[in-house]
């Protein structure tokens, strides 16, 4: 960390200097002038850092009397692994009466949605933004009404206006056809709208409109005590319940300054791996569905079902809800549960090996997977893509190793799988390798769960105005949780940048390399949640 701080300080000699935080190993720099943002960001990018998330806050009611934007960067380029586990926060203080900042989206494409979201929800203007369309609010949301400002009453319900059209790039020319899809889809999937411009089967342009499932959860969670707020975080997404519940807990535990007992950390790791495993095997089945290989769909669904059933035995919920709580876990392993888990993992290993062998020996399936939906490595880096999508394009990043959390210690010898082709097949291969690694980790964890208590008490209330930060490797990639408590130790601001949020722009990009009938397959190979993205 010392070297990173030295390198950055040398580059940013004119700016005050770094202070530690939010975590002890992190660095924070308060910018003297908001207009310095692009220049400082350029230096961070040149030093091999990439944007992890952007958090806006309304701090007018505090002594600071401002709106703030925090840019969180992390090391993403470098020859050694792991890269330093350091987040670098740039803090920009804005005039509350005229909150504006220069946009960095042209130099850092990953900032594009973040800036649009902060504009929609906080009314912060990012001048020079290449795409000024609304992102989060649709259908005639009144101008000048910003739901995440503290003065906004969450009970306000402006009327919807059905007349508003989705503004999008019009592609013109002979034979160009526009295909609108969604938000209500043909299958049982979450809602999103896709506007394809095509010639024949080839996709010329694809624009996705998301945030249909925006429930206002980041407003909902404000002012709640940590113990209540946890249940909201656990329900941001169904199939990421463990990851998001845990991320919220780790951020809160950091503010509290408590150490979670070793046994609780091991059980949390077990739950994370179980969540990853049931998602990955189900997703492999869904990729088979995208390639019209229905034997594979059923085989994947059966594996997933068996894992969800054993998950319900462990936690009381098929989505593993109710295990993790702030301070630890609230349910312990038993000998019978260990046996059931081992048996299901063993059966899954056999079934997965058989399914992968069947897919690989079936040219009519692999023909659909190869060279379909290619994501180039440089695009993955520019967009800040994470998880399976990034690793299949050769980006060797995994938060379990790069930002250790739960019980991921060096003793587990985590192997990070990568591929280089960046197509659907590469993403299938990475998923299969990760599923196998998850099974190895579950077996290793079951062999040696450390003894001791499964939880520790959270102090009540939490230290005023504390900030917590956690990066969790969810089944879809790294999710960044940023939490700040108010003077009474309740949630002042909670922001989740899910893996899906970072990855959605890559789906649109990868789809443009393929034909329209392959879109479901490309989409399934990334397997992103809408609910985690929209919140």
């Amino acid at each position: 960390m010392g070297t990173l701080e030295q390198a950055l300080s040398a580059r940013l000699a004119g700016q005050g200097g770094f202070v530690p935080g939010p975590r002890p190993q992190d660095l924070t720099l308060r910018l003297q002038r908001a207009e310095d943002v692009p220049a400082v960001v350029a230096e961070l990018c040149a030093a091999g850092l990439g944007l992890a998330t952007l958090v806006a806050t309304d701090e007018r009611a505090t002594t600071e009397r401002d709106l703030k934007v925090r840019y969180l960067f992390e090391p993403i380029v470098g020859n050694t692994r792991p890269l330093p586990d350091t987040f670098v926060t740039l803090v920009a203080s804005l005039d509350p009466d005229r909150p504006e900042l220069p946009s960095i989206s042209a130099q850092v494409p990953a900032a594009n949605w973040h800036e649009r979201e902060a504009r929609d929800l906080f009314g912060i203007a990012f001048f020079g933004h290449p795409d000024p369309r609304p992102l989060v609010v649709h259908d005639g949301w009144p101008k000048g009404l910003f739901p995440l400002r503290k003065a906004f009453d969450a009970q306000t319900r402006p009327a919807v206006d059905s007349a508003e059209e989705f503004p999008h790039l019009l592609v013109e020319g002979e034979g160009v056809l526009e295909v609108p899809v969604g938000p209500i889809h043909a299958g049982i999937i979450e809602p999103g709208h896709f506007r394809f411009s095509t010639v024949g089967e080839s996709i010329l342009n694809l624009e996705a409109r998301l945030f249909y499932t925006h429930r206002g959860l980041e407003k909902r969670i404000e002012a709640l005590p940590i113990a209540d707020a946890f249940y909201v975080a656990e329900r941001i997404c169904g199939v990421c319940s463990v990851s998001h519940g845990l991320g919220f807990c780790e951020a809160a535990e950091q503010i509290a300054g408590i150490a979670v007992p070793e046994r609780a950390r091991a059980l949390r790791t077990l739950a994370l791996e179980l969540e990853r495993l049931y998602n990955h095997v189900g997703d492999i089945g869904n990729i088979a569905a995208g390639a019209s290989y229905h034997y594979g769909t059923s085989a994947g669904a059966r594996m997933k079902e068996a894992l969800q059933q054993v998950g319900e035995q462990l936690t009381g919920s098929r989505f593993l809800r109710g295990l993790i709580v702030p301070g630890g876990v609230r349910l312990d392993l038993t000998v019978e549960l260990e046996k059931s888990l081992s048996a299901v993992v063993l059966a899954t290993a056999e079934a997965l090996a058989s399914l992968i062998e069947r897919i690989e020996n079936n040219p009519s399936v692999t023909d659909r997977l190869d060279t379909t939906g290619v994501l180039q490595a440089q695009d993955a880096i520019a967009l800040g893509v994470t998880g399976v999508g990034a690793r299949a394009s050769g980006i060797d990043r995994d938060a379990r190793r790069d930002h250790p959390h739960a019980g991921y210690t060096n003793d587990l010898n985590l192997a990070v799988a990568t591929e280089s082709d960046g197509d659907v097949h590469a993403r299938l291969n990475v998923r299969a390798a990760e599923a196998r690694e998850s099974m190895r980790l579950i077996r290793a964890l079951l062999e040696g769960v450390p003894p001791g208590p499964i939880g520790t008490a959270m102090p009540e209330p939490l230290p005023a105005w504390g900030i917590g930060l956690a990066a969790i490797e969810s089944p879809r990639g790294a999710a960044i949780h940023w939490l700040r408590v108010d003077g009474a130790g309740r949630v002042d601001r909670y922001h989740l940048r899910s893996a899906s949020y970072a990855n959605w722009p890559a789906v649109a990009l990868a789809a443009q390399t393929s034909i329209i009938p392959d879109f479901p397959l490309v989409n399934k190979s990334f397997e992103l949640c809408y609910s985690c993205t929209d919140r």
Binding site: P147, P183, T213, S354
Partner: protein, 276 residues
């Protein structure tokens, strides 16, 4: 190909026989909270223990709204002497929203006495039962769910639950559907799509609300981005509580909506059995 067939034969039938056979939730399953009769009302946990606001407490009166409940189990953990217990019942669906609110009053000693449940709602319309009771095509409508309920609907199509064996299927277009099965609290950004999808379904049509959010708004509630439940936007025939409901609970709710099972103390009758 041959090995795939052999493998399938070796595996045998994995499909369960619900609703003929009962559901078997595991030991740690958290069902609906209920107040144990005779418990001291004063000892019941306060409203603030419930993260989704399902508990109401007034002098001499205590209510738990199972339609708002997220089945976290905190009220049972926090109640003294087991005054609140979590049920084992999976079949919680109701044709009436009020039918999901469990209410107790205190007797002169301050102990809980169960209030009589609201009278059973009218039977399913004959027309619905006749035309949809044997074969039912549903259009899934995500109105802003966290996707847990959606994935449980997907699970109904897996070889274990295989809801098609009951003549129920999910179809691609509302034009081909007999009704919509809705997950989520109806977000502002989906309100128009929800109304239009429903309007595209030919009559007679039914609406099934799956999960706490669709039933009542759940933990999301009614706020700037959420209508607070499907009933705020569409006429709902059946509410299925749960966060999310288990697959068997959803099957029960679907069959309840077309009159193929009935509630008598929440016990399902087998298919084809007549209501007594």
């Amino acid at each position: 190909m041959l090995t795939a067939i052999l493998r399938s034969l070796r595996t045998g039938v994995v499909t369960i026989r619900y609703p003929e056979d009962p559901a078997h939730p595991p030991e740690r399953f958290r069902g609906a909270p209920a107040v144990r009769p005779g418990s001291l009302l004063d000892k019941l946990p306060s409203e603030s223990i419930c993260p989704s606001g399902a508990i109401t407490r007034e002098p001499g009166h205590y209510g738990v709204d199972v339609g708002r409940c997220i089945f976290c189990g905190r009220c049972a953990e926090d109640s003294l002497d087991g005054a609140i217990e979590l049920g084992r019942q999976v079949e919680l669906a109701s044709r009436q929203r009020k039918g999901l609110v469990v209410e107790v009053e205190s007797d002169k000693d301050g102990r809980a006495v169960a209030l009589a449940p609201p009278p059973a709602s009218a039977e399913v319309a004959k027309e619905i039962r006749r035309s949809l009771g044997r074969s039912l095509a549903l259009r899934h409508l995500d109105s802003g769910s966290c996707n847990a309920c959606d994935w449980e609907l997907t699970a109904l199509l897996n070889p274990v639950y295989d809801i098609r064996r009951l003549g129920v299927d999910f179809v691609a277009s509302p034009r081909h559907a007999d009704g919509v099965i809705v997950t989520g609290p109806v977000t502002r950004n989906l309100e128009i799509a929800v109304r239009r999808t429903y309007e595209a379904v030919p009559e007679p049509r039914i609406v099934i609300a799956v999960g706490a959010c669709a039933t009542s708004g759940g933990i999301v509630g009614r706020r700037y981005a959420s209508a607070g439940g499907v009933a705020e936007v569409l006429p709902v025939d059946v509410f299925i509580p749960g966060c999310p409901p288990r697959p068997e609970a959803i099957i029960f709710g679907i069959l309840l909506a077309v009159g193929r099972v009935d509630i008598r103390g929440n016990t399902p009758l087998g298919i084809g059995q007549e209501r007594t």
